[in-house]
């Protein structure tokens, strides 16, 4: 029963990693790509690590896996925010369907 739940979590995590990779390759602009990568990648890795911890049972290794999960949950959005803020302060324009930076001003 626990193995079935762990397998469900693992497959869900792999699905979200697929979503983040597809978003990284197919979206038209840096800001939309950072949305796809920052959010889906964090969720996918959290689900995968949670599934592995559930499969392992109650051991020291599961506590370590939950520590990695907590660290990834805090660190990945912070790193994504740091890169996106560097892009805003560098003046990278938002892509619109009519072209780049079409009178749209970034809030700096």
């Amino acid at each position: 029963m626990i193995q079935v739940a762990a397998a469900v979590l693992l497959v869900a995590g792999a699905f979200f990693m697929l979503v983040s990779s597809v978003g990284l390759l197919r979206l038209p602009d840096f800001y939309s790509r950072s949305h796809a990568v920052g959010k889906s990648e964090t969720l996918g890795s959290m689900l995968l690590l949670g599934g592995l911890a559930l499969y392992n049972g109650l051991e020291l290794n599961s506590i370590k896996l939950l520590f990695i999960l907590l660290f990834v949950a805090i660190a990945n959005p912070t790193a994504t925010h740091a890169i996106s803020r560097a892009a805003v302060r560098s003046g990278l324009q938002i892509w619109t369907r009519r072209g780049r930076g079409n009178g749209r001003d970034l809030a700096t």
């Binding site: 792999a14 990693m17 990648e41 592995l52 994504t80 890169i83 560097a86």
Partner: protein, 90 residues
């Protein structure tokens, strides 16, 4: 269950190879930065899965902890450098 781990490991390795396209092509340096961050997280998950496949869970989880910290520190250091120097410097 170990065949599920093997399938997942191959799947995540394929996604990592696909992300290299964005690192090579990406028109700005910020695209390359988040592509590198995604590759780092994929490698972290691969480390843990390979640890489960080989049976030596303890060693590979310690490696994964260290690599997660290195990935985070590297990405934030690159972001701070780019914020100060602008995109043209790289």
């Amino acid at each position: 269950m170990s065949s599920l781990f093997l399938g997942l490991a191959i799947f995540i390795a394929a996604l990592t190879v696909a992300s290299i396209y964005r690192v090579v092509v990406g028109p700005t340096v910020f695209d390359r930065a988040i592509g590198a961050g995604l590759i780092g997280t994929n490698v972290l998950l691969l480390l843990v899965l390979v640890g489960f496949l080989y049976g030596r869970i303890d060693m590979f989880i310690d490696l994964a902890i260290a690599y997660a910290m290195l990935n985070f520190v590297g990405t934030v250091a690159l972001a701070k450098y780019l914020e100060r120097r602008g995109e043209r410097s790289l």
